[in-house]
Amino acid sequence: MLLNRRVRAVALKEIKEIYRDKLYLAMALVVPLMVLILFGYGLSLDVKNIPFAVLDQNRSSLSREYIDRLGRSHYFSLHHYLLRPGPIDQELVKGSIRLGLIIPPNFDRQLALGQESEVQALIDGSFPDRAETSRSYLEAITLEYNLELARRRQALPGTRVPWIEVQTRAWFNSDLESKNFIVPGMMVTILFFFPVLLASITVVREKETGSIFNIYCSPIRRWEYVAGKLLPYLGLGLINYVMIYLLSYYLFGVPFRGSFVLLTVAALLYLGVSAAWGLLLSILLRTQVAAMLFAMISSVIPAFLYSGFFIAVNSMGASGRFMAAILPPTYFMEMVRGIYLKGLGVQVYWSNLLVLLLYFISLMALSVYFLRKRVG
C-alpha cells in the first residue's frame, strides 16, 4: 500500500537520474567517506608537541630536570633555550613557540629549603581551547614533579609531608583515545549533513527546470510524490551508513559493544528525519543555490555544536541544553555513543527512538502540507 505504483515510479525516476549522473553518484558515495577518514585521522583535539622556549635563570640540575620532564612528555617539545627575557613575547607574536617558561634564579635553593618556587608560564592564548589544554598538561606535569619532590623530601629523616595520589580510570574508553568519540560522532554528523544536502536540491531543481509542472498535472497524490522523492535518498544514506560502520570497525578499530540491529533501526529513523528535513527545505525554497546554502547551515551547526559532539550536553549552559533538546542529532548521538562504547540496549533508548519517529512523521506531514501550496 505504501509502495504503490506511483510512489515506485517517482522513486525509480529519481534513482535513474542519480544513477545516470556518474560524477554525482561517485561523489555522493565517496565524499562522505573522505570526510570521515580526514576527520578520523586528523581531528585530534589532543594537544601534542607544543613548541616551547625556556629562559633558565637557574641552570642547576634541578631546573634541568624539570625542563626535561616537560620536553620528554609528548605534549611539549623544547624549541630552544633563551638567554634574555625579551624575546619570549616576540616569539609568541611570531607564532614560532606557543609557550614560554621563565625559571627563577634561586629555583634549586628554594626547593632545597622546602619552599615554593615560582615558575612563570606564558601561554599563547589565540586558540583558547589549545591554551587551556596546554595549561592543564603543564599543571599536570608540574604536579607529578611536585609529588616526586614531596616523596624525596619525605625520605629525609624527621620530615612529614602529606601527599595524595590520584588514581584515574576512564570507563568506556580506557585509553582516552579521541578517535573513539570522533568516529562515531562523525557518523551522526555525516548522516545528517549529506542526506539533508542532497535531498534539499531534488524538488527545487524540478522547479527551476520546470519539470515540476509534469507532477502538478499528473494524478499523483502529494504524499506519494514526497514518499517517492524520499526513498532514493534514504537508500543512498543507508549505503553511507553501512560503509561508515565498516570503516569505523575495520579501519579505525573503534570498539563496538552494542547491538548492530538496534543501531541500524536508529540509523534508518535518523536518515528519514534528515532526508525529510532536506525535502521540506526543497519544497519551501525557490532556487537551488538558496536551498543548498540553507541545507548546509541548518545541518552543520546542529550536528556539530549542539549534538554533544565535542562537549557533553549535560555540561552545556541552559541555552545550549535547550537547543540540544529540540534538535534531532542529539538523540541519535546519545544512542550512537551508548551503543558503540557502552553497549547499552533498547531498554535505555526506546524514548530516543520515539523522538526520532515523531520528528520524521511531523517533517513528512509538513512537506506534504506545503507541497501543494506552491502550485497557485
Binding site: 549522473d21 554525482y24 561523489m27 576527520f39 585521522y41 586528523g42 589532543d46 594537544v47 601534542k48 608537541n49 624539570y66 607574536v93 607564532g95 629549603l113 622546602g114 619552599q115 615560582e118 612563570q120 606564558l122 601561554i123 599563547d124 592564548g125 589565540s126 583558547p128 603543564l138 599536570a140 611536585n146 619532590l149 614531596a150 623530601r153 619525605q154 624527621g158 620530615t159 602529606p162 601527599w163 595524595i164 595520589e165 584515574t168 576512564a170 570507563w171 574508553n173 580506557s174 579521541s178 573513539n180 568519540f181 542532497l198 536540491i201 527551476e208 525557490r286 537551488q288 543555490v289 543548498m292 546554502l293 548546509m296 547551515i297 562537549i311 557533553a312 555540561s315 541555552s319 562504547l341
Partner: protein, 376 residues
C-alpha cells in the same frame, strides 16, 4: 571591454539581489550564524557533572569533597554504592565520580600518604582529560592545605613542602575569551565557503540555464565574463565580512580594537580573490548544481580542515602537516589572527602573506586558464 564588464557586473548584482532567499542566507551566515558560533561553542570544561562516593566519611574526606565545586565541577549526586555509580555513568547523568576510599583520613594522618580514585566517562576523551587534570590539581592543593595545618600545629621545618608553583599567564587573550576565537574562526570559515560557493554557483547556473551560450556570442570575452563573476561575488563577500566584523564581533563579543584594520582588509581582499578562483575552477568541471555542491565539499573539507583551526598542526602526522601548506585558509588564519589579536604587523607576517599571495596567484591563474579553455 570595460563597458562590457560594467554591464555584466550590473547583471550579476541584480541577479544576486533578486534571489531574496539567497540574500537572506548570506546576511544570516555573516551575522546570526557567527553570533551562534561565538556564543554557543566552548571547549572549556565547566560545570562537569560530578558525583561523590565518600566511603571514608570523615571530616577530612568531607572537606576534600567540598573542594570539587564550580566552575569546574558541579556536584549533582552523593552516591553510596558501586551499582549506583555504574548506572549514573552508563546513563551519562554524571561524567565523573570521585571515590574517596575507606581509611583515607587515617592513611593520610599515619602514613602521610593516601590514595584517591577518580573515575570518568571516557566517551568524550578531550573533556575527560581536562577534568582529570583539574581533579589532580584539586587533590594536590588539598594535600598542601593539610600540610599547612600540620605546620601550624607543630611549627618547624618538618612539614615544609618544596614545590614548583606555576604562574600561568595567557597572552593575547588573557581572560580566555572563547567567543573571540570561535566567532573569528567561524567568520574565516564562512568567508571561505561563501567566496568559493557563490561564483561557482553563479557560473554553473548559467550553464544549466543555457544562458552562458548567449553571453559567449556577445562581444565580451570569456575573461570578462569570469572577471565580472569574480569581482561581483568577491565584493559581496568583502562587504558582508565587514558587516559581521563591525556589527557582531567587535560590539557583541567586545573584541579589543587592536591591529591595523587596513592591513586586515587588504589581506582579506587578497584571500577572497584567491578563493573565488577555486570556485571558478569548480564551475569548469561541473555541469549541474548538485555536482557543484559535492565537488565543493570535496575541496572545502580539506581546506577548512587543514587550516589548523580544528587541529593544531603540531599534533598532525608529518605528511598531513606538509599538506597544510596547500590550504590557503591556513595562511589567512595566521595573518588575520596575527593582525586582529596579536597586533602583528607586516614585519612579522610577511612570510604568510607571501605564501598566500603565491598560492592565490597560482590558483587564480590556473583557474582563469581553465575557464578560458572551457568557455572560450
Amino acid at each position: 571591454m570595460f563597458q562590457g564588464l560594467l554591464a555584466l557586473l550590473h547583471k550579476e548584482y541584480l541577479q544576486f539581489s533578486r534571489d531574496r532567499a539567497l540574500v537572506f542566507i548570506v546576511l544570516y551566515v555573516f551575522t546570526v550564524d557567527i553570533y551562534i558560533a561565538g556564543a554557543g561553542f566552548n571547549l572549556e570544561v565547566r560545570n562537569y557533572p560530578t558525583a561523590i562516593y565518600d566511603r571514608d566519611n570523615t571530616q577530612i574526606s568531607v572537606q576534600l569533597a567540598e573542594k570539587f565545586r564550580q566552575p569546574y565541577f558541579r556536584v549533582t549526586r552523593l552516591i553510596y554504592s558501586d551499582s549506583e555509580m555504574e548506572t549514573l555513568l552508563n546513563k551519562g547523568t554524571v561524567s565523573l565520580v570521585l571515590v574517596i576510599p575507606h581509611n583515607f583520613a587515617r592513611s593520610l594522618a599515619e602514613k602521610n600518604h593516601a590514595e584517591l580514585q577518580v573515575i570518568t566517562d571516557g566517551t568524550l576523551s578531550n573533556t575527560a582529560l581536562l577534568a582529570l587534570a583539574y581533579a589532580g590539581q584539586i587533590a594536590q592543593e588539598f594535600a598542601q592545605e593539610v600540610g599547612g595545618r600540620w605546620g601550624q600545629s607543630e611549627p618547624g621545618a618538618a612539614h615544609l613542602r618544596p614545590q614548583v608553583k606555576l604562574k600561568p599567564r595567557i597572552a593575547f587573550n588573557p581572560n580566555q575569551k572563547f567567543e573571540w576565537f570561535t566567532s573569528l574562526i567561524e567568520l574565516f570559515n564562512i568567508i571561505t565557503v561563501v567566496s568559493i560557493f557563490l561564483p561557482a554557483a553563479a557560473a554553473v547556473r548559467e550553464k544549466e540555464a543555457g544562458t552562458i551560450e548567449q553571453l559567449l556570442v556577445t562581444p565580451v570575452t570569456p575573461v570578462t565574463i569570469m572577471l565580472a563573476k569574480v569581482i561581483s561575488m568577491a565584493s559581496i563577500v568583502l562587504a558582508a565580512s565587514c558587516l559581521s566584523l563591525f556589527l557582531v564581533i567587535y560590539p557583541v563579543f567586545s573584541l579589543p580594537w587592536r591591529g591595523n584594520l587596513f592591513l586586515y582588509l587588504a589581506a582579506t581582499a587578497l584571500y577572497v580573490f584567491s578563493a573565488t578562483g577555486v570556485g571558478l575552477f569548480i564551475s569548469t568541471v561541473c555541469r549541474t548544481l548538485p555536482q557543484t555542491i559535492l565537488l565543493l565539499l570535496m575541496l572545502l573539507t580539506p581546506i577548512l580542515f587543514l587550516s589548523g583551526s580544528w587541529t593544531p598542526p603540531e599534533a598532525m602526522p608529518v605528511w598531513m602537516r606538509l599538506i597544510t601548506y596547500l590550504s590557503p585558509l591556513k595562511y589567512f588564519i595566521s595573518i588575520a589572527y596575527g593582525i586582529l589579536l596579536r597586533n602583528a604587523g607586516l614585519g612579522h607576517l610577511w612570510p604568510e602573506l607571501a605564501g598566500m599571495t603565491v598560492l592565490g596567484l597560482f590558483l587564480f591563474s590556473f583557474c582563469a586558464f581553465r575557464f578560458r579553455q572551457r568557455f572560450g
